[in-house]
Symmetry: C2
Subunit: 338 residues, 2 copies
């Protein structure tokens, strides 16, 4: 089969690779129907994370089950399945507590930009749709496997409640899905921080009520202006830099909540500042598995359209162009079709 391999910053190649095989009885092999490039893939692509030896890339996927291990009974060959970027057995104590992305047997997916993918913990990770979805539903289902699930978690971690005010820091695919999530969870006012016209438009279409294009302390001041001087009830931090975290914390009202889902890079939170802010803080890799049935339903019923974050569709063999387009911000998110 063929798949993406990263060699160095800016150097992603599409190569022949060994076909994946069942290794453990809880594995499945899927034929990829769609995969994509994640904002977090750009960290190594931009040289902001070490790469080490050349290795495959990709952790978002929907596909058709090809083969299952002996202990996989929840899905069967021929079914269309959605999974999560973090695999889980769905039975360990952390899974039972609702934190499947902290499963004691978790493996992070990392080989999905390829024709076929081995899914570890398939028995606890994959959810099949009742029937094969229409082609137009595929991007939304693909989004659910990571960015929509992550936006959903950001909104839950930020404790978005009906009637509340939410701020979304970051206008990438996760931030935009965070707008969808805040809307679905009943936020009355949703302030999207973005300075890119096309992303502002999409945020407004997804339910944002206000756009703040300023950044840093200027952006914080604008949020305060819009929230009676005290800040927002809930802030979704969807970037992962020290600056975006500071912006998120400072935009939150006393006693409000920040949900942070951008993998933090060089972020340190000052204990005394957090203390006097009364802000609650929770982050992490989203437990997407917990939300899959619900989010799949919302996509298939047409209630939400997170697939719209894909503004570029490429054949899988042009994966390198997907990275390049996102790195240059020509694309919010690139969908890849084998």
């Amino acid at each position: 089969m063929r798949g993406a391999v990263i060699y160095a910053p800016g150097d992603v190649r599409f190569e022949n690779l060994d076909d994946p095989e069942i290794i453990n009885p809880t594995d499945a092999i899927i034929r990829t129907v769609a995969t994509c490039v994640c904002g977090s893939d750009l960290w190594p692509y931009r040289g902001a994370e070490p790469i080490g030896d050349p290795h495959p890339m990709g952790h978002e996927y929907v596909g058709i089950v090809e083969e299952v291990g002996a202990e996989v009974t929840n899905v069967k060959p021929g079914q269309f399945v959605v999974g999560s970027f973090a695999t889980s057995d769905n039975t360990c104590p952390n899974c039972r507590n609702g934190w499947q992305s902290n499963c004691l047997h978790r493996e992070f997916m990392s080989t999905c930009q390829a024709d076929y993918v081995r899914i570890p913990n398939a028995h606890g990770t994959l959810v099949a749709t009742d029937e094969h979805p229409d082609a137009e539903a595929v991007p939304g289902l693909l989004a659910v496997s990571d960015v929509m699930g992550t936006g959903w978690y950001a909104a839950l971690a930020a404790e978005v409640k009906p009637g509340s005010t939410a701020v979304v820091v970051g206008d990438g695919a996760v931030g935009l899905c965070g707008v969808i999530a805040a809307k679905e969870l009943g936020a009355e006012r949703i302030i999207a921080m973005s300075r890119h016209a096309s992303r502002q438009t999409l945020a407004l279409e997804f339910g944002a009520t206000d756009i703040v294009s300023e950044r840093g302390e200027e952006g914080v001041a604008r949020v305060k202006d819009l929230t009676g001087g005290i800040g927002a009830d809930s802030v979704l931090e969807c970037v992962g830099t020290a600056e975006s975290m500071r912006q998120a914390l400072h935009s939150t009202r006393p006693g409000g909540n920040v949900g942070f889902v951008g993998v933090p890079h060089d972020v340190r939170v000052d204990g005394q500042e957090l203390f006097f802010s009364h802000v609650g803080l929770r982050g992490g890799p989203a437990p997407v598995r917990a939300y899959l049935p619900d989010l799949i339903d919302r996509v298939l019923s047409g209630r939400i359209s997170p697939g719209r974050v894909f503004d570029l569709t490429l054949p899988l063999d042009q994966v390198a162009e997907g990275y390049k387009a996102m790195d240059e911000r020509r694309s919010v998110k690139a969908l890849l079709k084998p």
Copy 2:
């Protein structure tokens, strides 16, 4: 009148001071019935916080109203009142959200180790009891004005729920009150981290089910042993050092919560570590005002006995000995009577 003044580390003096007067129409003057020394008073006493010019001390109090400003209608002269270490108007947006200790007009109390005290924002801060309490109820009501209210907040911030497992880091008065709070909020298992026999005994009497005397990573390992290997649902951090915060974060299960109420000193939380832990973190000065009616009821009905944290009672003029006894850990908490 007379009151405590701190001059330098280890140097607290009892001196003649000007009687307090009504300055604003929302002020009240109370005659102190009981006050005390707080663990946080030990930071400057130990030289761990700058002192600057000599200044009065003390932020915990119960007393009899002597005089009220024109806008104070909730209490009247002659009534016995309980307040909070942080004053609040109880009407600003932060107060209405339940964060009275972040009131837009907040003033922190700082002159309470004295015969008389001016209470700013008395209209939103003081709560009167129906009648003058018995002498034996006074220590409990005094505790409510800070340590019991703070332990309560720690348990709420750590999201203690019926049937859950809670860990309390810190065996000072706040930590011990945190044990009471965790018990009241329904925790099934309460692990108190303490290595002092008398404090262990009190923690057990307050409802702790287990004592862990180890500290640091050894203490964390013991907590993990007691919690099926994953850590506790809720951890109350009642110290405020980098070590105690680390111990708290590492003792919490994935997706659990840390409530931190020890004023952080040189605490920095690593964003990436917090991210992958999925732990929720919330701290701050407790919004004691929000809990006063409930906690006063619990004390007066005899349901809780937080007054037992006072293991030393001194006449106010021996305030310096109160500091010394606590500094040398001869006393958990010293009550002072004018």
